[in-house]
């Protein structure tokens, strides 16, 4: 057996897991892991965007007409809210890299507030759709009879896509609570920031999904009919 010299071990960081050589390796692994996970997420939503693309090509008029039933002011506010939350998230990551526990906590709480505002507005929109009988299924009602079926497909896609997006946001809020606890306990800081960084990556991804959903669902009607 060779007596290969062990690489020099720096002072053991409390957050260093036993199977990593050093904190840098651990943080790189976490970051790569999240990127790979986001790759999976892209394909996950990608399947839905494919379904959307095909049915929009099949039923362009019905999709344009259905799109008019979505609430553009609320959608626009939500878009701004979500972009704002990405900004505060980026600042939380920056604070973590600067070892500012207080900064991490403040910006995480701000991000969570903005995320909750988004979900609240989404809930209001959902309840409007419920009252307007725009939820696909036996209660579905649509004024223009010729679009009855394709409009159901549009709203099926609307609810599945925005619903999955909202579910991802709820998961993100849960992750942020976890990060808050870690920041409070002092796990985050002292050079260890990758958990906040990967939660940030995830949050930005969720944000980007909305950046695609908003025009594809809300705005196509305006474009197609020149309103």
């Amino acid at each position: 057996m060779t007596h290969a010299a062990q690489p020099h071990q720096p002072a053991h960081h409390p957050a260093l897991a036993h199977h990593f050589d050093d904190l840098a390796q651990q943080q790189e692994a976490a970051s790569l892991g999240m990127w790979v996970f986001l790759l999976t997420e892209i394909l996950f939503f990608g399947g839905l965007f494919l379904v959307y693309t095909i049915y929009r090509a099949w039923y362009p008029e019905a999709f344009a007409s259905s799109s008019h039933h979505l609430d553009i002011p609320l959608g626009t506010i939500n878009t701004a809210v979500l972009i704002g939350s990405s900004l505060t998230m980026a600042m939380a990551v920056h604070a973590a890299q600067m070892n500012s526990r207080k900064g991490v906590m403040i910006f995480l709480v701000l991000t969570m507030i903005l995320g909750s505002v988004f979900l609240g507005i989404k809930g209001v929109e959902y309840s409007h759709k419920f009252h307007e009988h725009l939820i696909p299924g036996p209660d579905f009602a649509y004024a223009e009879a010729e679009f009855f079926r394709p409009a159901q497909i549009f709203f099926s896609l609307y609810f599945v896509m925005t619903g999955l997006h909202a579910l991802h946001m709820i998961v993100g809020l849960g992750l942020m609570i976890w990060m808050l606890v870690w920041a409070h306990k002092g796990v985050i800081g002292n050079g260890y920031y990758s958990p906040v960084e990967v939660v940030g990556l995830y949050w930005h991804f969720v944000d980007i999904v909305w950046i695609f959903l908003f025009p594809l669902l809300y705005l196509i009607g305006r474009h197609a009919t020149g309103h």
Partner: protein, 537 residues
């Protein structure tokens, strides 16, 4: 020279149920998977036994028509999602990836344990489906049969597929990060064992393909529950779109099943011929080639589904291309054996069986890639025989070969050689007797998934059923003698085969942290014939 059994190893590092169910040791998690996956293998096998029993006579007088539909469906669902896809990655991959790269564990040990629990959750949903009314749509769950007409438990079954998919995704993510970030000093990409290349390629397919079947299963679920019209033409949807989405994953899934087995075979051929694998980099890149091409051929499942003829032509051509990386592997294994000092240990018997059976399965795949011929044998037993040659003749042979090769490392003990060779032969003979007649049946026009058949097909069906009983017996044997060896087998020593590879440099069974000192790699993975002496710790 009797080998010593190490005093401290991962198996005696903690006792009791908690030390297993809360373990983060990749080796213990591999054994958790081994236990669960073996159960599902025999459940899926029991369905196959009943199918073959029913098909022994033309009228189909053992089970009812509905039960028969449920049997072949559940056989497919259990075998594909709960056995073939996870088997080699989750058991052998989990055990070996950190050992082969000289790491202490996978990058995310807790995530690894979580994957097992997710797998078990999906598995329990599968059991729930089974106990509460089963599924009769075929494992493919084509819409609108699945979304409108079937009266069986489609929604929970779709959810089970969805959940189990996430278990494979998390395992694949763990492998990718581990292989990128945790290799021992000196272990460059081109010094990695080929098993790692194929595991890496497999993980890429899982990462890119599985989410698509997950979303498809979810759409089936909501369409079934809420009557959202994604795939049902009566609601304005497109059933062929379901087939596109389904096969976009489920064809690459075939490579999720076969690529890890190919990686195993590369290890076995090198170890038992005592030669470096011929054309190492070609074999490595052919794994990636198969992973990439695998995503471009799904349309060959839809030649008769109303797909455009031009699309079919392109899919046909791309399907032919898959033969190139596959053949590279087969030729290179054969070239490795050429003038090697081949030893006929049990794992090598499985490896040779794999090469022959995979070649038959692969060549008949070319028949099916030709549009004209495919239309003739579409949905016949020819297809059934073809994919069983790949999945049973390929994946299970590779899995069993790998299990026999690394069993001394996993358990620290040797199994009875005579009995294990005998069972390898029984499996090989039983397999061919089961599935070769099905090629002929299919060519003669016997459709798959039918409960009854004309009397002139009976001789071939009886042959197939007889083969299945031999095959089933062959599969039971390793379960008994491997379990026996856990207690009574002779200690194996660190390197019973005299094989290269980091996993053979540590004790058998390895300590919890795998290596006493992090190894440094200076040589190629197959620097044979150097560690020539057998049974030296």
């Amino acid at each position: 020279m009797a080998a010593e059994f190490p005093a401290h190893h991962y198996l005696n590092d903690g006792y009791g149920i908690r030390s297993w169910l809360l373990t983060r040791d990749h080796k213990r998690i591999a054994l958790l998977y081994l236990a669960a996956i073996t159960v599902f293998f025999f459940v899926g096998g029991a369905f196959a036994v009943l199918i073959r029993l029913d098909l022994a006579t033309p009228p189909g007088d053992v089970v009812s028509d509905d039960t028969y539909n449920q049997l072949f469906t559940m056989h497919g669902v259990v075998m594909v999602f709960f056995f073939l896809i996870p088997a080699i990655p989750a058991i052998l991959g989990n055990f070996l990836v950190p050992l082969m790269i000289g790491a202490k564990d996978l990058a995310f040990p807790k995530l690894n344990l979580l994957s097992w629990y997710i797998y078990m959750a999906g598995g329990l949903m599968g059991v729930y489906v089974l106990l509460t009314g089963s599924l009769d749509t075929g494992w493919t769950m084509y819409a609108p049969l699945s979304t409108r007409f079937s009266t069986t438990r489609v929604a929970p079954a779709a959810l089970a597929v969805f959940v189990t998919g996430f278990s494979s995704i998390l395992t694949a993510l763990n492998f990718i990060v581990t292989i990128h970030r945790m290799r021992a000093p000196g272990l460059t990409w081109f010094k990695m064992p080929l098993f790692l290349w194929s595991t890496y390629a497999t993980s890429l397919i899982v990462i890119l393909g599985t989410p698509v079947v997950a979303i498809t299963a979810l759409l089936i679920f909501v369409e079934r529950l809420f009557r959202f019209g994604f795939f049902d033409p009566a609601l304005g949807g497109d059933p062929v779109l379901f087939q596109h989405l389904f096969w976009f994953y489920s064809h690459p899934a075939v490579y999720i099943m076969i690529l890890p087995a190919m990686g195993v075979i590369s290890e076995l051929v090198a170890a038992f011929c005592r030669k470096p694998v011929f054309g190492y980099s070609f074999v490595a890149f052919s794994s990636l080639g198969i992973a990439v091409l695998g995503f471009l051929v799904w349309g060959h499942h839809m030649f008769v589904a109303g797909q455009s003829v031009y699309a079919s032509l392109v899919f046909s051509m791309l399907s032919f291309l898959v033969a190139i990386p596959s053949a590279i592997k087969v030729f290179n294994w054969t070239a490795t054996m050429y003038k090697g000092s081949v030893s006929w240990d049990t794992p090598m018997l499985y490896a040779i069986g794999f090469i022959g059976l995979f070649t038959i399965g692969g060549l008949t795949g070319l028949f099916l890639a030709s549009i004209g011929l495919d239309v003739h044998v579409h949905d016949t037993y020819f297809i059934v025989a073809h994919f069983h040659y790949i999945m049973v003749g390929g994946t299970i042979m590779g899995y069993l070969g790998g299990l026999h090769y690394w069993w001394p490392k996993i358990s620290g003990r040797l199994y009875p050689e005579g009995l294990s060779k005998l069972s390898a032969w029984i499996i090989f003979i039983g397999f061919n007797l089961t599935f070769f007649p099905q090629f002929i049946l299919g060519y003669l026009g016997m459709p798959r998934r039918y409960h009854a058949y004309p009397p002139e097909f009976q001789v071939l069906n009886v042959l197939s059923s007889a083969g299945a009983s031999i095959l089933g017996f062959g599969y039971l044997l390793p379960m008994f003698y491997l379990a026996w060896s856990l207690r009574y087998g002779r200690p194996a020593g660190a390197n019973p085969w005299g094989a290269c590879g980091l996993e053979w440099q540590t004790t058998s069974p390895p300590p919890t942290e795998n290596f006493a000192v992090t190894p440094t790699v200076t040589e190629s993975p197959y620097h044979y014939p150097s560690p020539a002496v057998k049974h030296v710790a």
